[in-house]
């Protein structure tokens, strides 16, 4: 018996891959549909969809960059401590002390590239009219993912804890003061008051919730760390799953007009 056949009849192999080798049309479909990785791609796609210049692969490249950011980010977390005492030193040590000290550079350049790829992906979707019915909802999900990508960059920008990041986040979070209703310098904030006493003050408005304090300090560093490493990636991961699923359910990749 050939080795290949022996492996295919091995119970361990058959417990993972339930179908025979993809040698005919029926088994090719069955193998793709029952494999987690392969089923992310449709069994069959229209011929135009594999043309590079129709999509520029920008959605896939964005997802690939998200995976790069996840892998390098998890590795960075093994050394980085989000405290006033250590954050800046750990960031320097990730370049100067550890082996293969390029992971932080990969993480940072990957983040820049991801924002650019998202923009180009949206440009492609706009130019090909792929936001039109029945894909309106997926466009909305995509806009949410754009916002989350920008928020990931914004929260990650504080973590090196140098002068640039502290003041950038100070300026950025100052915008939250002007949030309507829940920013203490924004319009309509006086609406929320009891007996003339404002409920929305510098100690209770949107900026205060974002930073955990009235100014950028250790509380803000910790909040941004958790948002950057856990909260936003979880939400983005859920929305990405929804986004990819809807591509298929809305009739696959859109065709040329």
């Amino acid at each position: 018996m050939a080795l290949r056949d022996r492996i295919r009849r091995w119970q361990l192999w058959r417990s993972i891959f339930r179908h025979p080798a993809p040698v005919d049309r029926r088994n090719r479909v069955a193998v793709v549909l029952t494999n987690l990785v392969l089923h992310l791609h449709p069994v069959a796609i229209p011929q135009h969809a594999v043309r590079f210049h129709f999509t520029w692969c920008m959605g896939g490249i964005t997802f690939f960059l998200f995976l790069v950011e996840t892998v390098t980010g998890v590795l960075l977390m093994f050394y980085y401590r989000p405290t006033l005492e250590w954050a800046y030193n750990d960031m320097l040590a990730l370049r100067d002390v550890v082996s293969f000290g390029v992971l932080r550079e990969i993480h940072r350049w990957g983040a820049h590239a991801m924002v650019i790829a998202v923009m180009l992906h949206m440009l492609r979707v706009f130019l090909t009219g792929s936001y039109k019915p029945p894909r309106e909802f997926n466009w909305v999900v995509g806009v949410m993912l754009l916002v989350l990508t920008l928020l990931l960059s914004f929260t990650g920008y504080l973590l090196p804890w140098d002068q640039l990041s502290i003041w950038a986040v100070t300026v950025g979070s100052n915008m939250a003061r002007a949030t309507p209703l829940v920013g203490h310098e924004g319009p309509f904030q006086h609406v929320l008051s009891v007996d003339g006493v404002d409920l929305i003050t510098s100690g209770s408005d949107a900026r205060f919730v974002l930073l955990g304090a009235r100014s950028v300090g250790e509380e803000a560093l910790n909040r941004f760390y958790v948002l950057h490493c856990v909260a936003i990636p979880l939400v983005a991961g859920f929305l990405m799953a929804l986004h990819f699923w809807r591509v298929r359910k809305d009739g696959g990749i859109s065709g040329p007009l």
Partner: protein, 191 residues
């Protein structure tokens, strides 16, 4: 084609006489390196292996924020008979003692970790004993256990008289009494 499970496909002979063709070494190599797909998968595998190795190396720290393993604890004159020096314990985990072991006056360094489950012992000056707060083990000033669950004496660290006249303790090297290692001249300084 009609066979629904597809197994028969792999054994379908080509046109002509049914002669099974054994795979040749050249044929296998050609199927791996003779195609762009084979080259691509080989490159992917190599990149994955390199990445895994680099990740493993990255996770091994190159710098530690631990106190040094060799410490100077002062000249022997700082240790009159019966002295138990406790000031090195918080950072380095050792008691430095001028005591008596088998009728010999020695200066030695005891690890402060209890030999039961590794809690940190406390020197009780009035009782003249090391007492473990976890389960009540007690040790005399020479490190020998006499009460509680501890199964063996405290461990000694290497100690020597350095060239500058100070005692130097090497915390990375330990000596156990029950193995007869306290006879090792590295484990004490004769007074």
């Amino acid at each position: 084609m009609a066979d629904p499970n597809g197994q028969a496909q792999t054994e379908q002979p080509a046109a002509g006489p049914c002669v099974p063709v054994a795979p040749t070494r050249r044929g296998i190599l050609a199927s791996v390196f003779g195609t762009a797909f084979g080259w691509g998968m080989s490159a992917l595998g190599a990149a994955t292996g390199l990445w895994a190795a680099a990740t493993a190396r990255f996770l091994m720290p190159n710098a530690l924020a631990e106190p040094p393993r060799r410490i100077k604890v002062g000249p022997p004159a700082d240790y009159p008979p019966g002295k138990v020096e406790t000031r090195f314990q918080p950072q380095h985990g050792i008691w430095v003692v001028h005591g008596v072991y088998r009728n010999r006056r020695q200066i030695y360094a005891l690890r402060s970790a209890c030999t039961h489950l590794g809690c940190i012992t406390i020197w009780q000056e009035n009782e003249q004993r090391f007492k473990c707060p976890c389960h009540g083990s007690g040790f005399y000033a020479d490190g020998i256990h006499f009460e509680g669950p501890a199964p063996r004496p405290l461990e000694r660290c290497a100690i020597r008289l350095a060239s500058d006249g100070q005692l130097e303790v090497d915390i990375s090297k330990t000596f156990q009494e029950e193995l007869g290692q306290w006879e090792d001249p590295q484990s004490f300084v004769e007074v």
